[in-house]
Every structure is written in C-alpha cells, then in structure tokens.
C-alpha cells in the first residue's frame, strides 16, 4: 500500500517535471497553428477582389504594385506591363460619383450590373470590390488573380503596411533589422560596463562591497520593464533630443540605452560567475610568474573565462531582443530599415504589442502578428541553444 502510494507520488512529480517541455511544445503548436494561415491568404484583402476590364492585358500584380497604384504612385498601366493608359482607381465608396444612389436598388441588388457597366465604359479602370457585389464575369470584366501571400513577400518585403487596402503589405525586413539593430547597439553599450562590473565584483571588491553591490544589481534586474519604459520616455528621450539636437527624441538610441541598462544585470551576473569559476591555481601561477594583478586578469582570467563571458553576451542579446514594453514606449516605432542610431525604429515585440489588440481575430493581420511571434520564438530559441553550447564547451578548455 505504502509502496503504491510512493509510486503514485513519483509519477505525479514526474508529470510536473515534464510541464516545461509540454509548455514549449504547446507554445510551438499554438503559435504555428495561428500563423500558418498567412501563406494561404490571398494578397488582396479577404472577401474582396480587384476587378478590371477583360480587355486589360495585365494578368497579375504584386502587393507593392497594388499599393503604388492605389496610392497613385503608378499612374499608367504601361508601368505594370499593360497599355499606355492612365489607370482609373475605383474604390467601392466611389460608386456614387458614377451613378446615383437610386440606380443601386433598394437593397443594393443592382450593384453587380452597375459595376459591370462602369467597368465596361472605363477600360483602364481597376476596381476594388467586396465579393458579394462582383459583376458577372462574362460581362467583359475580369477578376485579377494576384495569388497568395508568399514567403518572399513576407521575409523579403521592405514595407510593413498591415492594414493597407486593397492589399496589405507584410514585409518584416524592417522589423527584424530594427530589432537586431537596437539589441546589438544595446549590448555594445552594456558590454564594457557589464564586464567592468563583473571584474570589479569578482576580483577587486571586498566582500563587504560585494554584498552591497549584489542586491543593487538584483534590484536593477527586478525593476519592471514598463517602469524602464516610462523612465526612458520622460527622461532619456528629451535628454537625447537636447544633447544631439535631434528632430526626434524617440530613436533607436533611446531604446538601446534603456535596453543596455536592462541587460546589465544579466551580463554582470553571468560574466561574474564565469570569472569566479576560473581556478585559483591558474591565477596563482600567473602571479607567481611575476605578472601584476591587472595582467593576470587581462591575459589569464578573461581568456580562460571567455566562453562564459560570451554566454553572458548572447544571453543579454536574447533579453534585449524579446523586450517589449520599454522599447514600445521609447523607439518611435517607425517601420523603416534602420541606417543610423539616431532615427526611430520599430521592433518585432513592439509591433506585436501595439497591433495585436486591433487586429481582427483570425484575420490575415492577426496571422501575420503570430508569424512575428514565431520569428521571435525561433530567434530566442537559437540564442538559448547557442548559450547552452557555449557553456557546455567550457570544461573542455581547461586542459
């Protein structure tokens, strides 16, 4: 009986032991299941179509071309492989400027006929219509087949216009680059301070100073990211604007500074552990050979602990890449490919946080945001595996 009880408890404990693995699998399943619909969605907005005159030679348009046509950046069909005719852009709400409201019928039942008439009279038209009002395809009109959103559109696209009509643009390149840009800059700022802090703590500080500093670093790690964001918004952003005489204060730089502060505790703690794990004998050997303490640190201790320090850096980058609220509040969130630190950027986490609330559940935009989540997840997974590998290499270096 007692034995049985023990086995049951052990099994229960085992099950709870697997929960983290289970969670990760669930996260993967759910993120992917919500996101995969994206590449089966048509380029043109759901339940809508682009209709042209059947005489029109242009068979298909890319999302970018559609956007440029409707923004009147492209004004002639010749630019997209058609006749030399000026494009007439037609949105559904324009219908009343072509015909009177009475002609549409009491329940708008005549719209398809009216539309085919309009399209036949204007060969150079491109009409963006809800599917239930499509004109009869035999009437000299043609629904343009623009295909589905492709991997290339998504990962290679340079413009992020998730709510553009008729064709939303989901180019994640500026978001991915923005995220990496801010995170790498943050680590560059944090690394010297983090390394100095770690060396100070492990090699120079007396145990009293150390016991004073450790809690402070933990405190720095404990401050919620939204507080950092708030601090950045009211202090760092105006400060940067003043110092650099910038047009805008919300810049990648502001984000990088805040992220650097947030990554510091991780870097210091992990790097300090690595430096501490350097065997005493190695240090003493160096000192015995007449090296100064500083020389020992630079020439012996740091090279020995380098993989641990690398792990600290990578871990810090991971923290920075995933950080949401602070970045959302200070970086300005402009979806452009970054070129300097002094311009606004938009990161992946900030995009998800800012847009998910507004995206209709299950829609293309919603799926695209989950795809961003997948990207973020994969990046952090790669980072954490890298750390694992770096850290496991450490013992081999001893000899």
């Amino acid at each position: 009986m007692k034995k049985f009880f023990e086995t049951v408890v052990e099994k229960i404990l085992m099950v709870s032991g697997t929960i983290t693995s289970l969670t990760i699998i669930l996260i993967i399943v759910f993120l992917f299941s919500q996101a995969t619909g994206l590449f089966n969605s048509s380029v043109v907005e759901e339940n809508h179509s682009l209709v042209v005159n059947s005489q029109n030679r242009v068979q298909t348009l890319t999302p970018m071309q559609i956007k440029d046509i409707f923004d009147q950046e492209i004004t002639s069909w010749i630019e997209v492989g058609g006749e030399d005719e000026d494009i007439i852009v037609f949105r559904f709400s324009d219908i009343t400027s072509y015909v009177s409201e009475e002609e549409l019928g009491d329940e708008f039942q005549f719209i398809p006929q009216v539309m085919s008439k309009i399209i036949n009279e204007n060969p150079a038209i491109i009409a963006f219509l809800p599917d239930q009002y499509l004109p009869n395809p035999t009437d000299g009109t043609r629904v343009m087949d623009c295909g589905d959103i492709t991997l290339g559109d998504f990962f290679g696209g340079e413009e992020w216009f998730p709510t553009a009509q008729p064709a939303p643009l989901f180019g994640v390149l500026p978001l991915i680059l923005g995220t990496l840009w801010v995170s790498l800059a943050a680590i560059l700022f944090a690394l010297p301070f983090g390394l100095a802090g770690a060396i100070f703590l492990s090699e120079l500080a007396s145990s009293r100073v150390r016991s004073l500093l450790k809690p402070i670093i933990e405190l720095l790690a404990g401050i919620p990211s939204v507080v950092y964001g708030f601090f950045g918004l009211v202090v760092i952003v105006p400060l940067l604007q003043d110092w650099f005489n910038l047009a805008v204060g919300e810049t990648a730089l502001a984000g990088a500074i805040i992220l650097a502060i947030m990554a510091l505790p991780t870097i210091i703690t992990v790097a300090e552990d690595a430096i501490r794990s350097v065997p005493r004998t190695i240090r003493e050997a160096s000192l015995a050979l007449g090296a100064s303490k500083f020389q020992t640190i630079v020439k012996v201790v740091i090279p020995y602990a380098v993989s641990g320090i690398m792990a600290a850096v990578v871990l810090g980058i991971g923290r920075a890449i995933g950080e949401t609220m602070a970045v959302l509040m200070v970086t300005g969130n402009a979806a452009v490919i970054p070129t300097t630190l002094l311009e606004p950027v938009r990161t992946i986490p900030a995009t998800i946080a800012a847009e998910l609330g507004e995206a209709p559940t299950g829609g293309v935009h919603y799926e695209a945001l989950f795809m961003l989540g997948v990207i973020l997840f994969v990046i952090t997974l790669v980072i954490s595996i890298t750390v694992e590998i770096i850290a496991s290499k450490r013992p081999k270096q001893i000899m």
């Binding site: 929960i19 993120l31 802090g197 500080a205 401050i223 919620p224 939204v226 995933g322 949401t324």
Partner: protein
C-alpha cells in the same frame, strides 16, 4: 615595474568607476521616481479608485488586480514548480531526461514575455474560451515564472548535504518520508525566496497580460476568476501614453511607478532576509 602598477591602477580605477556607474544608474532611476512620485503617494492614493479621467484619485483597483494575478499565478506555478524541482533533484537519475528537462526549462525562461502573451491569448483566451480574465492572465503569468520557481527549488535542494538524506534512510525512512520530513522543511526558506522573486516578476509584467486580462478601467473590483482586472504595470503604461490630458495624469503615473518600484524593493529585501536566515540556519 612602475609603469606596470600605473597601468594597473588606471585600469582598476576605470573598472571601479564603471561598476560605480551601474550603481549611479540605479540611484538615478529610483531617485528620480521617488522625487517625482513621493508627492502623489498617500493613503488615499492606494485605497481609492481613479477619478476625473484618471488624472486624480488612486490606484486601488490596479493594486487589487495585480494582487489577484500574483495569487492566481502562484497557485498554479508554485506547486508545479516545486514538484518538478523535487523530481529533477531527488528522483530523476542524472540521465538524458533530466538534461532534457533542464534544457527545456532554460529555454522556457528565455522566451520573451510578449510570446507568452501571444500564446496565452491563443490558448487560454480563444481556444479554451476563458476570455480576457484573471484565469487566463494568471495561467499565462504562471507559465512565465515557472522556470524561476523550478530553478530556485532545485538550487535549494542541492545545497542540502547528502548526509541528511543518508541519515534519514539509515533510520528506515522511505524516500517520500525523507523528502517530506527532512529535505523540504530544510529547503523551504530558500524555496520561498524563489517564490518571492517570482511574485516580484509577476507584479511587474505587462506584455503577457496585455491580451489576456488587463483592463483600462473597471469601476468594481473583480468578483470571479472570469473577470478582467486592472493591473499596476498596465495602468502605468496607460497613464504614460493614453488619456485625454497626459500632463495632468503625470503625478499619478509617477506615483504608480513608485509603487511598482516599492514592490520590487520589498520583494528583494524579503528575499535577501530569507536567504540570510537560511544560510545561518544551515551553518
């Protein structure tokens, strides 16, 4: 020889200065918030609801909401986290299973909080149909802090010398009895430290509750676990960015930030005290 010491002195000076600047940053942030926020803090501030479009009144509902989320997530994460810590350290042999679990736990802790938010929204809010609720928010936050609880439990158990286990076995106690009567009581203060740190983390997280439970304004306190709640970090975010008169809301925002910082301070202090107590006891 002299140059060598000179370089060393300069280098160490720089190290000291840089380490000091880390302290300076913390002092700057906390000092700034204390100076700006202290004026807003009062008994009314923490016991009253927001009024006048959030520019006046207090943050009581947000405090209650954060409390609900803390309790909810701990009810979920604490038992499971401690149990899985016990399993890893006491039961599982040091084989690939443990290795795998450890890697997975590490991976889980490195997943960004916004991804937890996405996941919580997909699973708890939509698929399981909890809606935006304390339940959905607590479960999401619970998963987020699970690695912290597991790791501290594991570390707490590791510090207990094997002699105690062997002693217990020698007296004829079973494994379960040993864990229950000997190991857990000894490790409890340190496990509690992990719990407290997890509480600190939960009370400060915004991204995971953005889509799973946080509300902008609620006139009443929540009555069931299927209600939405206001929460301190989300409230600060809202105060900092929305509202009709952002300047007028600033004092409240500073006050809220200060309350959040105070929670973190208290949490860290408590954890430190407990750790000290534990170490003394073990000696």
């Amino acid at each position: 020889m002299k140059r060598k010491t000179l370089i060393q002195n300069i280098a160490f000076g720089i190290f000291r200065l840089m380490a000091l600047s880390v302290v300076a940053i913390l002092v700057w942030i906390i000092g700034f918030l204390v100076v700006k926020g202290a004026g807003a803090l009062s008994w009314e501030f923490i016991t009253e609801s927001p009024t006048d479009g959030m520019t006046k009144g207090g943050i009581f509902p947000a405090i209650v909401g954060t409390l609900c989320l803390v309790v909810g997530s701990m009810v979920f994460a604490f038992p499971i986290g401690v149990m899985s810590g016990i399993y890893i350290n006491e039961y599982a042999a040091n084989n690939w299973v443990v290795k795998f679990i450890r890697v997975m736990t590490n991976n889980l802790s490195s997943i960004p909080s916004i991804v937890f938010g996405l996941f919580g929204m997909a699973l708890f809010v939509n698929t399981l149909g909890f809606g935006d609720s304390i339940l959905a928010g607590s479960l999401t936050l619970g998963l987020l802090v699970l690695p912290i609880v597991i790791r501290t439990t594991e570390e707490a158990l590791k510090t207990i010398p094997d002699t105690y286990r062997q002693g217990s076995y020698a007296l004829g106690a079973s494994k379960l009895t040993t864990i229950r009567k000997v190991i857990l009581p000894m490790a409890m203060p340190n496990i509690t430290t992990g719990l407290i740190l997890a509480v600190g983390r939960v009370s400060g997280e915004t991204a995971p509750i953005l889509f799973t439970c946080a509300a902008y304004f609620l006139p009443k306190l929540p009555t069931s676990i299927f209600d939405q709640v206001m929460a301190l970090p989300y409230h600060l975010y809202v105060l900092a960015t929305s509202g009709t008169d952002i300047e007028a809301a600033r004092p409240v925002a500073y006050g809220t930030a200060l309350v959040l910082i105070l929670i973190v301070l208290i949490v860290n202090l408590l954890a430190g005290v407990l750790r000290g107590y534990f170490n003394k006891k073990l000696r």
